[in-house]
């Protein structure tokens, strides 16, 4: 018998990164679609309708547990990779020219991911945390639309959100197509399509997210 440790081997870790990464990508699509409803300019009516569904539906709550699980797996595995890879070269080069053969953001996935993590902590504390707490204590949901209006009247909060979107942009610019390669889905027939889709996704989704706080700050949504 040939033993393989699918989870802890080098390739097993890549598979986990790829699967959880694409899962998070899927989550971003859902998240961006629902939050994009603020631009209906109906005082958040459409947005709140879906937010209510996402906040109270039983199946969504189960999916939410899966989302946190996937995110934690992605982070733990990602940071483990980062540490092992750093340790794999105990003596560094005295002089190196890595930009000659690769992109800086491809080499900085751990850093970009950690920046996203900092953002997530603040972000969950702004919206998800208070809302769930209120649901548990009073059974009522908060008006997330109003909460956004309040939070995004603060210029620093807007700048922080936009900066986080840049981290996400670079993380996805490498991550999207990288996930396909990790899963072994590399085929000359589809590579170009995956690359274009990845670049488009990395630009569009963070841009949509960045425009939300900006729109609130300039009173473009009401």
């Amino acid at each position: 018998m040939q033993n393989s440790v699918l989870i802890t081997s080098s390739i097993g870790k890549k598979l986990i990164m790829g699967l959880t990464g694409l899962f998070l990508v899927f989550f971003l699509v859902v998240h961006a679609s629902i939050n994009g409803c603020i631009w209906f300019n109906d005082e958040g009516k459409t947005f709140l309708y879906y937010a209510h569904f996402m906040g109270t539906n039983f199946l969504v709550h189960i999916a939410e547990v899966g989302l946190f699980g996937g995110l934690i797996l992605h982070m733990v595995d990602g940071l483990l990779l980062w540490k092992q890879n750093r340790d794999a070269r105990p003596v560094k080069y005295a002089y190196s020219n890595p930009s000659a053969n690769s992109k800086w953001y491809s080499r900085s996935m751990g850093l970009l991911g950690t920046l996203i993590l900092f953002f997530l902590i603040v972000h969950l504390r702004n919206f998800w945390g208070p809302n769930r707490l209120n649901q548990i204590t009073t059974g009522e949901e908060l008006n997330l639309f109003q909460l956004m209006q309040e939070d995004f009247s603060n210029l620093w909060m807007v700048v922080f959100y936009v900066a986080a979107c840049f981290s996400l942009f670079w993380h996805l610019l490498h991550g999207f197509k990288s996930a396909f390669q990790s899963l072994g889905l590399n085929n000359v027939k589809y590579n170009k399509a995956i690359e274009i889709a990845g670049t488009a996704f990395a630009i569009i989704v963070p841009l949509v997210f960045a425009l939300m706080p900006i729109s609130f700050y300039f009173n473009l949504v009401h």
Binding site: S10, G12, N97, N101, L183
Partner: protein
């Protein structure tokens, strides 16, 4: 031509190494990088100093022995070339050139620029041995091989095991090398019988040797002297996944 060299000198595996400055003159532009180091060593020997130890053998780009991390890149600034195929005309007169060994925990330094790359040999040995009886002329047609697969296998087989992929990779991952070896045999009928065991055994040995994990940065493909493709790594991922799921 004249060059300022900063060369990594290290007595042995345990000693602390450091960059040492050398100046060299009267270098002919058409000398290879190794020949330039030969001239430098000749100067050092005449002065009674210890010559710089470095790996080399064929000096025609086919054996994979020559190494060196030159001016921040594995095998120097040339695309798809080994250090023996790098010529001094690729540099400018008066350039300062850094020369370091291939660095990775799995490639311990023996002396100066010589590293122990036998981790690769142990990975190869885990792949098992494929013996092919070529038989009579007509027997060549008895084992049909798809032309496209034959081409891909030949491309993968071009890997000379030099280790530039490991040296260039920010993660010190050996996946381009291992995937070339796994691909070469997985694509051909001769490699079929032990295909699954081979994928698992070689990957396990790669992990045991302490190489890093691939994060699809692509520096290996960019620096490989034999232009081994990243598609091989994707194939290895598939081979390993399938083998892990079905092997008993």
């Amino acid at each position: 031509m004249k060059f300022n060299l900063k060369v990594w000198r290290q007595k042995n595996a345990q000693a602390q190494g450091k960059l040492v400055d050398y100046t060299i003159e009267n270098i002919i532009p058409d000398m290879s990088f190794l020949e330039m180091v030969d001239v430098l060593n000749d100067n050092l020997v005449r002065k009674g100093e210890d010559p710089i130890a470095f790996d080399h053998d064929c000096r025609e780009g086919i054996c994979g022995m020559c190494s060196m991390y030159i001016s921040g890149r594995a095998h120097g600034p040339h695309h798809a070339a080994t250090t023996c195929q790098l010529y001094m005309r690729s540099f400018k007169d008066g350039d300062t050139i850094y020369v370091e060994p291939f660095r990775a925990g799995a490639f311990p330094i023996i002396k100066d620029l010589v590293t122990d790359r036998s981790a690769f040999d142990r990975i190869i040995a885990k792949g098992g041995f494929v013996s092919v009886n070529t038989g009579q002329a007509q027997d060549a047609n008895n084992l049909p091989v798809d032309k496209a697969d034959a081409e891909k296998a030949m491309d993968a087989a071009a890997c000379i095991g030099c280790g530039a992929c490991v040296a260039a990779c920010p993660n010190s991952a050996a996946m381009l090398f291992v995937s070339a070896k796994i691909s070469q045999l997985a694509l051909l009928p001769q490699g079929g019988p032990e295909r699954n065991n081979r994928a698992i055994n070689m990957v396990n040995q790669m992990d045991e040797e302490g190489f890093g994990n691939c994060t699809n940065i692509g520096a290996c493909e960019a620096e490989c002297p034999k232009e081994i493709k990243l598609t091989n790594i994707a194939r290895m991922n598939r081979e390993y996944l399938v083998a892990s799921l079905i092997n008993e």
